[in-house]
């Protein structure tokens, strides 16, 4: 089921173009949003979360047009949003914070039960009485996620929720996101291609305000098929090359004739999709 349909979204901040002619659709399941810093990911998510309007284009979210106040309100009633670097009321307990958000979401019937439910869903049963300032970064992110899950939202927008988490926390968070994506639409903005590989059914790559790829993660990896190889020494002419743990060099680019091609990863595909020229500049 399509929950979001965007056609030709554009947004400028002064003379800078944040988004240009962005069109896509979101369906049930987890969709990853990949892109380098400054690609416009957060701007796009804020538009979808009804925090800011687009300058141009058509957008329907959950059947509503967020340009009008009534449409915005309709979207917000069914939206779960975890912003990038979400702040927390440090002196609140986890329960108090989520309860506070529940009130602001106008959840008035069975509110405390709902708060307990979402805290349980993110595995914070035992931590709900702890002050947020006493929680680890990963637990705080889970508190934020719990708040986003209040009232069973049909659309969940998560802006880089795994930033700053250690590998174990990131793994647990991925498990949570995968669970959340069952039966609803989740848009997950991330820098981590592993996040996309593990939990996303679809992926959108955004760069310089434009969509560069939209499809399945396997297809993203496929974008680099035949253009990834390894060799014992760094090869000239590769767009990117780095030494791996085995001691061989991993290359992306136009391979030499005798290259030992390997299966590309999503990261390889992602790197191929985003601006090759700037990639070459960065890795030189």
């Amino acid at each position: 089921m399509t929950t979001v349909r965007a056609e030709g979204l554009s947004l400028r901040f002064g003379r800078a173009t944040a988004l240009e002619d962005v069109s896509f659709a979101l369906h049930d399941g987890v969709t990853g949003l990949l892109g380098p810093n400054g690609a416009g990911k957060t701007t796009l998510l804020r538009i979808l979360a009804t925090a800011i309007p687009a300058d141009a284009g058509q957008l329907r979210i959950l059947g509503a047009d967020p340009r009008g106040a009534a449409g915005r309100l309709a979207v917000r009633r069914r939206l779960g949003y975890l912003p990038q670097n979400p702040g927390f009321h440090q002196h609140f307990t986890a329960f108090e914070f989520v309860d506070y958000i529940a009130i602001l979401k106008e959840i008035v019937v069975g509110r405390h039960d709902e708060v307990r439910r979402v805290l349980h869903a993110v595995g914070l049963d035992d931590q709900r009485g702890k002050k947020i300032k006493a929680l680890s970064g990963g637990m705080r992110q889970r508190v934020g996620l719990a708040a986003a899950l209040l009232d069973e939202p049909a659309l969940v927008i998560l802006d880089e929720p795994t930033v700053g988490l250690d590998p174990e926390q990131r793994m647990r968070f991925r498990e949570l996101i995968a669970q959340i994506g069952e039966g609803r639409t989740v848009l997950l903005s991330t820098h981590q291609t592993e996040d996309v590989a593990t939990v996303c059914q679809r992926v959108i790559v955004l760069n310089q305000g434009r969509i560069r790829f939209e499809g399945e993660p396997v297809a993203l990896a496929g974008m680099a098929r035949g253009r990834v190889w390894t060799s014992p020494a760094r090869a000239d002419g590769a767009l990117a090359a780095w030494r791996t743990g085995s001691g061989d060099y991993h290359h992306i680019g136009d391979p030499p004739p005798d290259a030992r091609l390997v299966d590309p990863s999503i990261e390889d595909g992602y790197l191929m999709v985003i601006d090759a020229a700037s990639l070459a500049g960065r890795t030189a």
């Binding site: 399509t2 659709a25 059947g63 509503a64 069914r78 979400p86 702040g87 506070y100």
Partner: protein, 523 residues
């Protein structure tokens, strides 16, 4: 582009009561957080602590006048709880900004004006706490202390109203600026301006435009003469609070007839209350004030205790036992034959604001005439403050004067000068009456309002009635430093000599066994 298969279902059915219920739920959360905020707790402890410490202090606070204390309590409440309401109300509004949750908060459903309304509602319990505290204070004082009079309910409500006003100001400031420094600064500016303006305004009408209202009178008066426009001031404050609240929700985006109506009602209250409170007192009250000052007997009732008549204004009779203690201590040191003088202690008020051009001399004459008409000639004057050492010394000295001279002091601008042995006796009798009276004597002597030195005793705060010169004061002070029993025995033995007009201070010193004064008084 992926093909669109179907649109998600639209918005679920809405609960029309949800915004109202969410607003109240948010208010409940904010109430708890505001009440247990360290600033609120500290303010409450400071306020109650100041009241409790006043209770334990020795002075007029032990004999409170409730019709004055209600206004004083309101000022303390405004500074403490009102200040707390301003700060915690402001912090509650700014919480989202301070904690960086704006990104999430702005896409939540409850509109800003409803959140602002919740913050305003959350200030109400702070006012309720203030009301409970002030009523509890009055009840405790009325029950446990020899309190005079009774508080004005409107005056009592002014403290909580200032809490509402400042709380609403805090919420409004939070809507106007995101800086958390502004509210404490505003509080400091407000308090500084109130402190600075009060003396500048000399208790004038303009002070009623400030939250704490105009000054109280120079000395306590019976309730019926107070005529403070407390009800109008309360309406004025509530109107202002309503205006600030309406401005806050308007700033938060509220629009509509209800907000406009509430703002209009608040404006009407503020204007009506503000105008009414500046109106002069009723003519009948003004006339009654003057009459009560010049002819107190008409407004007092009397009771006799241990052969002494005590006349007090309505509400002040609970102080008679305390007056009796002082009078008894003086009378006890006087030989039995000298106790035959009929003593009357009468409350008097001398307030320049009630004066209407009468002046001290005419006021004294009016008092003498009033005493004579009431059948209590030569009554001893006592004012409407009690509990401090000055009051004890003034009463003891006046009683002593009557017993030593057998007559009332002649009216003189600086008080009747009492020389020789009689002067020594007056001071000694006053000083030995109680530790408090002795302290009062020492303070009165130190204050030395009279350029001749010596000590003056007052029948009200502004009206000296007895003056004892420096040599007599020196002898009496020496006697007070000796064993009381020894001096008392000498006084009993030589009463006639000591009270004789011809007995000098030096001779009195010889009788009492203390060094003679370096100088003598020409009376």
């Amino acid at each position: 582009m992926t093909a669109v298969l179907a649109e998600a279902p639209g918005t679920p059915a809405l609960d029309a009561a949800a915004p109202r219920r969410a607003t109240l739920a948010l208010a409940r959360v904010e109430i708890v957080r505001m009440l247990r905020h360290p600033v609120t707790v500290a303010a409450t402890l400071l306020l109650t602590g100041s009241w409790v410490s006043a209770w334990f202090a020795i002075g007029t606070t032990r004999y409170p006048v409730l019709q004055n204390l209600d206004r004083d309590s309101a000022i303390g409440m405004m500074m403490m709880l009102g200040g707390a309401a301003l700060i915690v109300g402001n912090l509650a509004v700014l919480r989202t900004h301070r904690d960086g949750t704006t990104g999430l908060s702005q896409v939540l459903i409850l509109p800003d004006h409803a959140r602002t309304l919740a913050h305003l509602i959350a200030v109400l319990p702070l006012a309720v706490v203030g009301a409970v505290l002030i009523v509890a204070r009055m009840a405790i004082l009325a029950i446990c202390a020899p309190a005079a009079g009774h508080p004005n309910p409107y005056e009592l409500a002014i403290g909580p109203a200032t809490v509402l006003l400042l709380g609403a100001l805090g919420v409004l400031l939070g809507r106007l600026t995101r800086s958390a420094v502004v509210a404490p600064l505003a509080l400091l500016v407000l308090l500084a301006s109130l402190v600075a303006l009060e003396p500048l305004a000399h208790g004038g009408k303009a002070l009623w435009l400030a939250p704490q209202g105009g000054s109280v009178l120079e000395m306590p008066t019976p309730v019926s003469l107070m005529a403070r426009p407390a009800a109008a001031h309360l309406g004025y404050l509530l109107g202002l609070a309503g205006l600030l609240a309406a401005a806050a929700v308007l700033r938060a985006g509220a629009r509509g007839v209800r907000v406009a109506g509430a703002g209009a009602v608040a404006l009407a209250c503020a204007v009506a209350g503000g105008t009414a409170q500046l109106s002069p007192p009723d003519r009948a009250v003004v006339a009654a004030r003057t009459a009560a000052m010049t002819h107190p007997s008409r407004y007092e009732t009397c009771q006799e205790l241990e052969h002494v008549t005590y006349c007090a204004f309505a509400g002040f009779h609970r102080w008679v036992p305390a007056w009796t203690t002082v009078v008894r201590a003086v009378v006890a040191r006087v030989p039995a034959p000298a106790r035959s003088a009929q003593l009357t202690v009468r409350q008097r008020i001398a307030i320049p604001a009630f004066d209407r051009g009468i002046g001290p001399e005419r006021l004294r004459a009016a008092w003498r005439a009033d005493d004579a008409a009431a059948g209590t000639p030569g009554a001893i004057g006592i004012d409407t403050s009690w509990g401090d050492s000055h009051a004890a010394a003034n009463l003891a000295a006046q009683v002593a004067y009557r017993l030593v001279t057998g007559e009332a002091p002649v009216d003189a601008r600086d008080g009747a000068t009492t020389c020789g042995g009689a002067g020594v006796l007056v001071v000694w009798l006053a000083g030995q009456a109680s530790a408090q009276a002795r302290t009062g004597l020492r303070l009165l002597a130190q204050e030395a309002r009279d350029e001749r030195g010596g000590v003056s005793f007052y029948e009200t705060q502004l009206m000296p009635t007895v003056y004892v010169p420096a040599p007599e004061l020196a002898v009496a002070t020496q006697a007070l430093a000796r064993t009381r029993a020894d001096i008392a025995a000498r006084v009993q033995q030589s009463w006639a000599t000591l009270t004789a007009p011809s007995t000098t201070a030096a001779q009195a010193a010889q009788i009492l066994g203390v060094p003679a004064p370096a100088t003598s008084t020409a009376c």
